[in-house]
C-alpha cells in the first residue's frame, strides 16, 4: 500500500500514483492539522503534492532522497 492512514498521520510509501490523490484529499479534509510521513516515499505524483500543499499538511519526516526532499521542502515548508 502506498498510503497508510493512521490516527493523525498519513504514511506515504514508494511511488504514490495519481489515483491516490482523491483518497488523500478526502482523508485530509476530515483531519485538519494532520501530518504526513514521507520517509519511505520515492516519488509523489504532483496531484498528491497539490493536495498536500492545499491542505497545509505538516511533514513529520522527509524522504531519504536528498534532491526529492529538496523539491518537496520548497513547497511544503512554506505551507
Amino acid at each position: 500500500m502506498p498510503m497508510e492512514f493512521k490516527k493523525k498521520q498519513v504514511f506515504l510509501r514508494d511511488i504514490v500514483s495519481v489515483d491516490e490523490a482523491e483518497a488523500l484529499l478526502e482523508w485530509l479534509q476530515n483531519k485538519p492539522g494532520a501530518r504526513v510521513d514521507l520517509s519511505q516515499c520515492s516519488h509523489l505524483h504532483p496531484a498528491n503534492l497539490q493536495v498536500l500543499i492545499a491542505a497545509g499538511c505538516r511533514v513529520s519526516a522527509w524522504p531519504q532522497d536528498a534532491s526529492f526532499s529538496a523539491w518537496l521542502q520548497t513547497a511544503l515548508i512554506a505551507a
Binding site: 495519481v18 490523490a21 482523491e22 488523500l24 484529499l25 485530509l28 479534509q29 516519488h43 509523489l44 505524483h45 504532483p46 496531484a47 498528491n48 503534492l49 497539490q50 493536495v51 500543499i53 492545499a54 491542505a55 534532491s67 526529492f68 529538496a70 523539491w71 518537496l72 520548497t74 513547497a75 512554506a78
Partner: protein
Amino acid sequence: MNPLLEQFLSESRDVLQGIGEELMRLEKAPDDKALLVSLFRMVHTLKGNSGLFDFPEMTRVLHAGEDLMDAVRNGRIAFTQELADQLLDAMDFVGLLCDEIENTGRIPALRAADSARLSAALRALIALHALPGAQENCEAVFDAAANALSPTNYPAQLPLGELPEAVLREAYLCAQQGPLHWLAYQPIAECFFQGDDPFYAARQTPATLWVHVGAREAFGPLPTLDAYRCVLEFRALSTAPLEELLELYRYVADQVQIVAVPAHCLVLPQGDPNGGPVYDDFVQDALQHLEAGRFNELRQAAQTMLHLSSPALWLSSALRWLLLLLEQEPQNLPALRLLIESLRSLQAPDWSALESAQALANTAAAGPTEAASDAGESALSGAVAPDQSALKSLLAAQRQILLFEDQPQWLSGRLKAVAAVLLHCCSARGALDAPAQIEAALALSLAQRSSAPLLAWLDARDDLPVAAAPALAPALAVPSTAPAAVAPATKSAAAASVASRNDAPEAAPADEAPAFGRRAEDAAASSGPKSLKVDQAKIDRLMNLIGEMVVSKNALPYLAQRAEEQFGVRELAREIKAQYAVINRIAEEMQDAIMQVRMLPVSFVFQRFPRLVRDISRKLGKEVELVLEGEDTEADKNIIESLADPLIHIVRNSLDHGLETPEVRRAAGKPATGKLTIRAVQEGDRVLIDIIDDGRGIDPQIIKRKAYEKGLIDEATLERISDRDAIHLVFAAGFSTAEVVSDLSGRGVGMDVVRTAVEKVNGSLALESVVGQGTRLRISLPLSMAVTQVMIVEADGQTFGVPMDHVVETVRVPRADIRAIKQSQTMVLRGSIVPLKALNTLLTLAPAARANADDEMAVLVVKIGGDALGLIVDEFHETAEIIQKPLTGVLTGLSAYSGSALMGDGSVLMVLNVKELV
C-alpha cells in the same frame, strides 16, 4: 534509416511543396473553399504522418498549423497575407527539420524552442484574427497568446530575488565557470489527464543548484479543491548545458521557459533596507577608490562597513556581493560601479542597463561606454537592439492590434498584452524611462476603454524600431561622433535622417530576418534530397541512347579491321582497338548504371499477394499459408510490371485448382493448411520466379483427356504425348479443366495469357507437377530487355543472330561422328544424344553446311524448352550486344525471326527465333 522514415521524408517534401503551392494560389484567390479544404487536408496529413515518429517538435508546429487552417476553413478566421507568411515560415521550418532528420537521424534539441515559438505564433494568429461572432473563450486564448508572444527572455526580469543569498552566491560562482540556466516549467492544467507526471519530469532536471515547486494560484478551501487540475509550477537553476535541458523538456517545449542567466544578474542584494543617506560618504569614497584602481582600499573600506552593519541589512548583503565581485572579476569596473551606486538608492542594481552598455561596448569598440551609461537619458536610441527586424515586426504587430476598432469584452486583456510586449521590447533595448510611460498610457487606455493612449505613445515613440540604425551607423564608422548622435539635442536631426532613410531600413529586415526558408535553402544547396522522381519516358530515352551507343561503339572493331586489312596500318588498328576497349568499358558501365535506375524489387508485385491470397482462400473455404521469399530481388521495371498479371493468374490457379480444401487435405494425410510459396531469385542475368504449392498436382491423364475433348490435340497426339508435355497443355489457348465457369477460373484463358505475357518479355515458363504432392511453376525472366546478347553464326554466307539465352555451347564435331537415326541426324555429346538440324535446311537454303579444313562441322547447341538441340552452321562469329527491333509490316508474319538489329558496320542482322524455327 528505416524505409518508413525514408518514405515519410520523401512524402513530406512533396506535401510541403504542395502546401507552398496551394498557399500561393490561395493568396490569389483567398475565397476558394476547395483550395482551403485541400490545404487543410495536406497539413492534416503531414501532421498525422509526423505523429508516427518521435518528432514532437515537428508535430507541435504542424498541429498548430492544422488548427489554424481548420479555423480558416470553418470561416472563423479570414485568410490573410500575414497568415500565409506565418504558415509558410512554419512549413519551411518543417522542411528544415526533415533535412536535419535525413542528415542526422534526429532533430537537435535546440529546435524545441523554435518549434514552441512557431506554434505559439500560429496559435496567436487564431486568437488575433478571430472574426466577430465566434468569440467565446477568446480571452483566455488571447492571454495565452500574449504570454507566448512576450516571453520573459530577459534574465533581469526573472524572479531571482526570491532566491536565498547563499544560493545566489553559489550560482554566481557557477555562472563564472560555465552556463547557468533558469528553468520555469508550467505544465498545462490538463496535463494529468494526458498521463503526464510533470513533477517526475522536473526531478530529472540535471545539475540543479536550486529547485522550487509552487502553485501558480492560491488553492481554495479543501472541499472545492480539484486535485487533478495542475496549477503547479516548477523552477530550477541548473548548470547543465542548454541542449541537455531542451532535450529533457522537448515534449513540453511550449510550457517551459529556459533562460541563460549571466553571472551578474545574480548579484541581487537582499535584506532590510533600513538606513539612509548615511551611506553617501561611503559610496563617494568607494567610487573614488574604484576610479583610481585602489582595490585594496576599497576592499578594506567595504569590510569595515560590513563589520559595522547588522548582517541582516540590505547594505550588508550588497557589501558581501561587492567583496565577492572584487574577488571574482575586479576588472569589471562598470559592474562594480553600478553595485556601489546602488547603495545610494538601496535598490537592486539594474543589470540590464549594464548589459546593453556592454553590448554596445562590444560593438563599438571602446568609445561609447560613456554614452551608453547615460543611455537612460537618450532612451531607446542608445542601446543596441538584439534584433532590429524582430523588434520592428513586433512593434508593427502591436500597432496593428491597437488599430482594431472593435470593442470586445477582452479589450482590457488585449491592452495589457500589448503593454506587456511594449515593456519587454523597451527593456530589451534598455529604455529606462519607457516602462513608466507605458504604464501610464496603459492605465489611461484601460480607464477610457480605448487603445488610443497606448497608440499615441507608440506613435510618439515612432523612432523605436528604426532610430537605432542611423544612430548606430555613425557610431560604428566614427566612434567619437557616437555620443553626439545619441544626444537628445540631435534627436530631431536623427528623426530627419530616419525619414530620408526610410527605404533602407525597410529593405534591411528582409535580409536579417531569421527565416527558416533561407536556412533550408542553404541546407538544400549542400545536401538536398537523395531521391529524384523522374518521368519514365526520360529514362527510356536515356536507355535508347545508350543502346545506340552500344551499337555504334561496335563499329570500331570493323574500323580497326579495315585499317589493318585494307590500308595495312597495323599501328592504327591497334590504337583503334585500344580506344574501343575504353569506350566499351564506359558504355558497359553506363548501361549497367541505367539498368540500375530502372530496377524495381519484385516486392512491387509481391506486396499485393497477401491480400489476394487471403480473399480468394476465404472465398474458396481453403486454408492457405502464403510464403514470400526473395522480395528484394530486382529486375527491370518493364519486366516487373509485365509480371503482375501473369502472377495473379498463376496464384489464382494454384488456389483454385492446386490447393485442396482442408477436409480433402486431411484425408490425404497432409496438413490442413496448404502452403503457397512465391519465391524470386536472381540467377545470372535472369530472374527466376517459382510459384510452388503443395496441392493435388496436375494429373496428366485428365489434362490429356480434357485437351482432346476441347479439340486442342488430335487422337494421335493424345496417344503419344508424354506426361511432361501433357502438363504443358495447360498453357494452350482455350484449355480449361473446370466444369463450371466461376468468377475465379474456368474460362480457359488464364494460363494462355500467362504464357503470352511471359514470352513477350523474352521469358520462359516451366511447369513441374507430381500428382498428390504439388506443382511448381517456374517463370524465368531476363533482368532487362533493352539490350540482347546474341551469338552471330554464319550460314550460306549470311549472318544470323541467335539469342545467347538459348545458346548452350559451340562444338566442332567431326563429320564422321554424326550419326543418322532414321531421318534425323544426331551426335553424342558427353554421353547423351543430341539431335542435330542443319540451319540451312531449316531456313530452306539449298547449299549443305560447310565443314572446316579438318572436316569438322560447326554445331551450335541450343536449349529449347529444356531440351538440347544442335544447329549445324557454317561458322561461328563473335557475340554481340544488339538492340533488337521487332519485325514490322509485311515481315511480321515471319515467325522464324524474332527481330532484326543494326550492326556496327551498317549491316542488318536477323535474329533467329529458335523456338519457332525448329
